[in-house]
Assembly symmetry: C2
Homo-oligomer: 330 residues x 2
Amino acid sequence: MRNITVLAGGVGGARFVRGLRDLVDGSDTSISVVANTGDDLWLAGLRVCPDLDSIMYTLGGASDEGRGWGRVGESERVSAELDAYGIGWPWFTLGDLDLGTHIARTSLLRDGLTLTETTARLTARWDLGVRLLPVTDHEVETHVEIVDADEGTSRLIHFEEWWVRHRAGVPARAFVQRGIESARATESAIDAVRSADVVLVAPSNPVVSIGTLVAIPGVAEALHRTVAPVVGVSPLIGGRAVRGMAPACLAAIGVDSTASAVAAHYGARAAGGLIDAWLVDDSDADSVPAIEARGIRCHAVPLWMTDVAATSAMAAAALRLADELRAHAG
Amino acid sequence: MRNITVLAGGVGGARFVRGLRDLVDGSDTSISVVANTGDDLWLAGLRVCPDLDSIMYTLGGASDEGRGWGRVGESERVSAELDAYGIGWPWFTLGDLDLGTHIARTSLLRDGLTLTETTARLTARWDLGVRLLPVTDHEVETHVEIVDADEGTSRLIHFEEWWVRHRAGVPARAFVQRGIESARATESAIDAVRSADVVLVAPSNPVVSIGTLVAIPGVAEALHRTVAPVVGVSPLIGGRAVRGMAPACLAAIGVDSTASAVAAHYGARAAGGLIDAWLVDDSDADSVPAIEARGIRCHAVPLWMTDVAATSAMAAAALRLADELRAHAG
């Protein structure tokens, strides 16, 4: 039995895990996905967990692949009612099918279940083929510091307001993880990292997905202590994000939007950083030597997740890197 | 300005109020509806208030007249999701449009608004033409004592389980208003009764709608003290309920399902009861003398709410009874 643990954000992470799941299908492999919860929010009295749901829907075969997010065959009748009552955020539309998840989750949370227990209950409906673990049961919500153009003063807005309403078009000065001081990674998430044979860092947003996830107290220590190699996959290809708006987030923390800059930002695990190895796209092959000079083993392979087969090939390349590291260490 | 206050349950009460509203339209009349909240429930983490919503939808022109309850043009996509997650009661289907109301209400309640304030916020969307007041802001939920056929032991189930799941087909031994000891009618509801020129008791279920409403601490005293005549409309016609399952409820408290038995159960206000006058259907005209012998002024008129015009005529008959009582007193 091989245990693979993936650190993942939402849609990009979900697609990567789907490719990995297909790759290892039929082998004696268990996949645990430790998911970011920093994008979570209370909206209209309901607990919404965008990354957990993106992973659940994508792996459950229920995601809207054309639109790129949410449930396939979605409708928005309830949201129209909420708008009519003036409840919620009119620019954050909750689909009817998606609302079923939020209502069920909120009901279970109100009954006293943890988010981990709640996620286990929700995912039991779907045939995910992986164990989905929120990184923490505590509420940690990312807020974005923006500057009011008129006033010149800065203020914090919820990440989802910045991301969905402003399409990350308002410059971010900083990201603040509200509640992180008193948060703690779950034992399940820590154990998934500690007991893994391989840890993969999905090509998710390095700042608000992976960055937040790793900042949850307990995660960095687990990554530091695990004997598993930690292999990351670049979410940036030739200065562009595979999907999402990573450059707007990276700019806020002063990191260039390149595969090598993100590798340097994550840092070599041997030097107290996050990763042992890093996959970049073929088009970024010329950055491999500089990345390896930082003590991060690096390969260049095609990184566009154009379909499940291409994504499986990426996952295979990541696992090969892990094998090389183990052989090297052994 | 004439102030009319109606004590009402759900659908029957809503239809009666709609007839009254049409009747007084254009006159200088204000209608307050004090609504039963004893059927309310928490379901899938949401606060559902069937009677308040029946009144809101019916007066807002959004009720499903064919089906007799809920929203017109309703769909049930979210409920199917909740079923798939195993959340809620599979036999209590929440429509998508209806869920919009429950989500909005729950969100406002979680924000700390009272049910009265929440109801004001929700009804602001609709053009009701009346002020809709929950009788209490406290949670009072009716439970039904039933006997397990197998065990021979009695147990309590939520009213909605008895009503919707069992279609009132399991004999009820008693109705228990959980939470009523610590509940109190709102000042708004009490004031609506105290300051009314006429109080009408809608043809609603005498046990679980009007009975519960009047049992909320503060209501009986307000009814006792108001100078307004209190005129009731029989929900029973020739031993049948105009709608709903009143006979099953009346049986549990040992009251016959006749207009005169319900009048006797309510009792003459002069003798510490609820009503000064009572409207029965033409077909129950022979019971008028016996009812009047109890000190309750009584008229017989057509009581089938076949359409809004017929219902307006009933409301007009009720107001005529009130005028007679005032003339008699004056």
